[in-house]
Symmetry: C2
Subunit: 96 residues, 2 copies
């Protein structure tokens, strides 16, 4: 499996739009196992995404999906940069 | 909802034991929505955990569960410190 944990830096006023774009764009992506979007509770200009994919190839292919391209285009005006970005090897995904 | 994204620093040889302890200790925790454990693909001495909880109180209560206490005790000899630790407000958890 292939995973990512990424921090997106946003404008404060644009964070909600970035979150909405990410959530809407992430539905039904082939090979995606989990996609968690969260606001940073202490930094109002930061969003965190934890992703789990069946493979790195599945993740790469997702970047060509129209839904994902649209989401990136919608989010871009509100993005100010990237923070932490970690490639991971997911081991377990427990649902409570 | 309440969330955490945390990086645990481990010894290289002890990382597998930490991962095993985390996964086993995290089963059936009341109020837990998601618990994702992943190895850092580039740093052999690092583990990342993404957590989603119904509330901060649910997370705090979990630290008193025997299963969690046991897991922490099993992991502790292999831990060398904490890295990134972010409190989040989870927005969406999509299962592919």
């Amino acid at each position: 499996m292939y995973g990512l944990i990424g921090q997106l830096r946003t404008t404060e006023e644009g964070r909600a739009a970035v979150v909405a774009a990410l959530v809407e764009g992430a539905r039904g992506m082939p090979g995606n196992v989990a996609y968690l979007v969260a606001e940073d509770a202490e930094d109002p200009a930061s969003v965190w995404v934890t992703e789990v994919w069946e493979s790195e190839a599945a993740h790469r292919a997702s970047l060509d999906l129209p839904s994902v391209r649209d989401a990136i285009a919608r989010a871009r005006p509100h993005l100010t940069g990237r923070g932490t970005r970690v490639v991971t090897r997911p081991v377990a995904s427990l649902d409570g």
